[in-house]
């Protein structure tokens, strides 16, 4: 049976796809979203079982290669010091994310003008401001107004509890005179839009059984579906097809039974994240686009940015209750965010205070580091660490470099035989210096807070969870893949709306900005319906 032509087909139902679909749905256009994963069942999330921590190494692991769920696709990241971390389902990687939800700074859109590195964005903080506000309402952002690190902003819900741990570290920052503030968090701290409030379970990184964490399967998607968007799950898109005049005319995908199907559409929107999107574009080759669709600039896949992470931990004498509360959301510091010419690196980083580990996590991490040995000393060493260890991650701004990129692996394929992505990445000297600075300052603050010993790891090898830059936006078609409002320079009815279009990476978690951009692009489309393809 021939499929009906959709007005809009969206590929990917994660953070960006969800926000975009919800916004565009008010036009009453026929919108179809194709997602390779399925709906998650929160009742099956690990936190309701005794082995909840272990499943974070198994079917809720960070790496798709190790996790190997049927909806996952392999990623060759063997040559990268930072491995890719994602999730493939309705909600995308927000199923696993920590929901730490800061905004970019105004200066993040002006890195070239201010600091002579990267490029300026073709839009500014003010362009996204109303969309940050809209996203805060839809995702349910908790936080505290008045942060001097940001222009005034709306924060609809009260902040996540500091707990003993947040207070202890807050005092440490105060002793050094450094900035800190309760983290903006996409976590319903009180009942919000039908979502039950957070009950401080802890393991947000294996899915929130309570439904308090703002993953898009519980925020945007129910509303978008109610507004008439058709969300087709277990549909993996192989390629975007192009018809006459270099216009996209739809996509080819495999359905849940592995049957090849075609979805025709007037507008094609890609939201597969900073690795999945370039993979799809590079896999879509035609005579007119021998290097992949929308890739006349040669920049598809290039300028891959992560945020290189370090983890700095301290051991305290007193119990800190670190296994309670949203594990990635407590307080943050942006003391070292903006460029300071007195430092040996350009741009900056954030500290995100993480809480502590549960009993199994503490044991395994103590075993790996050698601080909890087996044998007679076991219990004493474990008691020294468990519930007494906390710390932070250092989130460094990565600079765009063309040699850091996503290409197609010549051999590796997914279960449908579609070529898999390959990651080429090396840490820049600037990032290395920034990591070193962040680790040293992290130790200082932990010591100021009372830590009796500290340890650090940099870069964190599993922290490739912020995926940006691989189809950057800009006004010059030779130096960017999409224009100022997300439309491909080469294919005028093809839009890209995820972190791929970031020009620079900022030094904060990107999802709030990804979604604000997706909402902005949806509004641009609504406003330009009469001249969309001109």
């Amino acid at each position: 049976m021939p499929e009906e032509t959709a007005d809009v087909v969206i590929v990917g139902a994660g953070a960006a796809g969800a926000a975009f679909a919800w916004s565009l749905a008010e036009t009453r256009m026929k919108i179809v979203c194709l997602e390779q994963g399925g709906w998650m069942n929160p009742a099956e999330y690990p936190s309701s079982r005794a082995d909840w921590e272990l499943r974070g190494f198994g079917d809720f692991g960070l790496s798709p290669n190790a996790r190997g769920r049927p909806e996952d696709y392999p990623i060759n990241d063997a040559e990268s010091p930072i491995a890719i971390s994602n999730f493939n389902a309705v909600g995308g990687s927000t199923i696993l994310y920590a929901a730490h939800f800061p905004r970019f700074h105004p200066s993040d859109f002006r890195a070239h003008t201010l600091d002579g590195v990267g490029d300026d964005w073709p839009i500014q903080y003010e362009t996204l401001e109303p969309y940050y506000d809209e996203n805060a309402r839809m995702m349910g952002v908790a936080g505290l107004a008045g942060d001097p690190a940001y222009p005034p902003k709306q924060v609809p819900l009260p902040p996540v509890p500091l707990g003993k741990l947040g207070e202890t570290l807050g005092r440490g920052f105060n002793r050094l005179g450094w900035h800190w503030w309760p983290s903006d968090s996409a976590i319903a701290t009180v009942e919000h839009a039908g979502r039950a409030p957070c009950v401080n379970l802890g393991p947000c990184l294996t899915g929130c059984a309570q439904g308090a964490k703002g993953s898009t399967d519980v925020t945007y998607w129910p509303e978008a579906v109610r507004r008439g968007v058709e969300l087709r799950t277990h549909c993996r898109v192989r390629e975007i097809t192009v018809g006459e005049n270099d216009m996209a005319d739809g996509v080819i995908y495999y359905d849940a039974e592995g049957v090849e199907r075609r979805q025709k559409a007037e507008v094609v929107v890609i939201a597969c994240n900073g690795v999945g999107t370039p993979r799809l574009l590079l896999n879509s080759r035609t005579a007119h686009f021998p290097e992949g669709i929308a890739n006349r600039s040669g920049l598809v896949g290039r300028n891959l940015m992560f945020h290189p992470y370090a983890m700095v931990q301290g051991v305290f004498d007193e119990a800190l209750d670190g296994y309670k509360g949203p594990m990635g959301c407590c307080i943050m510091s942006q003391e070292f965010y903006e460029t300071d010419p007195g430092r040996d690196f350009v741009r900056g980083y954030s500290f995100e205070i993480t809480r502590g580990m549960g009993p199994v996590g503490a044991a395994i991490s103590g075993m790996s580091s050698g601080s909890v040995p087996w044998g007679p000393d076991h219990h004493r060493s474990y008691a020294d660490l468990f519930n007494r260890t906390t710390g932070m991650v250092v989130i460094c701004e990565d600079l765009p470099e063309p040699q850091n990129r996503v290409s197609l692996d010549p051999e590796l394929t997914d279960s449908n035989g579609i070529p898999a992505p390959k990651i080429h990445y090396r840490l820049s000297e600037n990032s290395e210096r920034m990591l070193e600075h962040g680790v040293a300052r992290g130790r200082e603050v932990l010591e100021a807070a009372g830590a009796r010993e500290t340890s650090a790891q940099a870069p964190l090898p599993f922290a490739g969870w912020h995926l940006m830059g691989t189809a950057r936006m800009g006004s010059d078609p030779s130096r960017s893949v999409v224009n100022e409002w997300g439309r491909s320079h080469d294919v005028r009815n093809l839009f890209i709306i995820d972190g791929s279009i970031f020009v620079t990476a900022g030094a904060v978690n990107p999802t709030n900005t990804i979604q604000a951009l997706a909402l902005f692009i949806a509004d641009q489309i609504k406003q330009r319906l009469d001249s969309l393809f001109d």
Partner: protein, 155 residues
């Protein structure tokens, strides 16, 4: 059932030896505050939950038995803790796959057991659905930060 098949590959004598090994990895705490890993029957649990451990375990236990015979030791459990440690390290040298997997699964499963969690002063339950109470904390601690001038760059 996989678990039954797995445990049936291990004799009762081997199971006793295995329990001794587990107690050497995580021994009972002083004054009985914390149970030993063998004492709480972690051996049965591991064989059931991690059947892929069985072959390397059988192999490792056989090497341990040999080492005990060489040293004319009849009862592994009766050795002093540091002697047990040295012997298991020796088995690890001869059978490199033995210790890493066994240690990981012992740590990972021991700290899920209700008796162990209670001994740590925790409630023996998964986090969901009851969750935890957590104090909001004193936001007055932010007063010095509130007094600071703007930290972001205008552009």
């Amino acid at each position: 059932m996989a678990a039954d098949t797995a445990s049936s590959e291990i004799s009762e004598t081997q199971m006793r030896l295995f329990a001794g090994v587990l107690d050497a990895i995580i021994p009972p705490g002083e004054g009985g505050a914390h149970p030993g890993a063998g004492e709480i029957g972690l051996g049965e649990i591991l064989l059931q939950k991690v059947p892929e451990l069985t072959p390397v375990l059988v192999q490792g236990l056989a090497v341990l038995r040999e080492e005990l015979e060489n040293r004319q030791v009849a009862d592994f459990a009766a050795l002093a803790e540091d002697e047990k440690h040295a012997l298991l390290e020796q088995v690890g040298v001869r059978e490199p796959g033995f210790l890493p997997g066994l240690l990981f699964h012992t740590y990972a499963n021991y700290y899920q057991q209700p008796r162990v969690l209670e001994a740590l002063g925790l409630e023996a339950r998964p986090p969901y659905p009851r969750g935890y109470e957590l104090e909001a904390g004193d936001l007055n601690l932010l007063d010095p930060v509130r007094k600071r001038p703007r930290l972001y760059r205008r552009c």
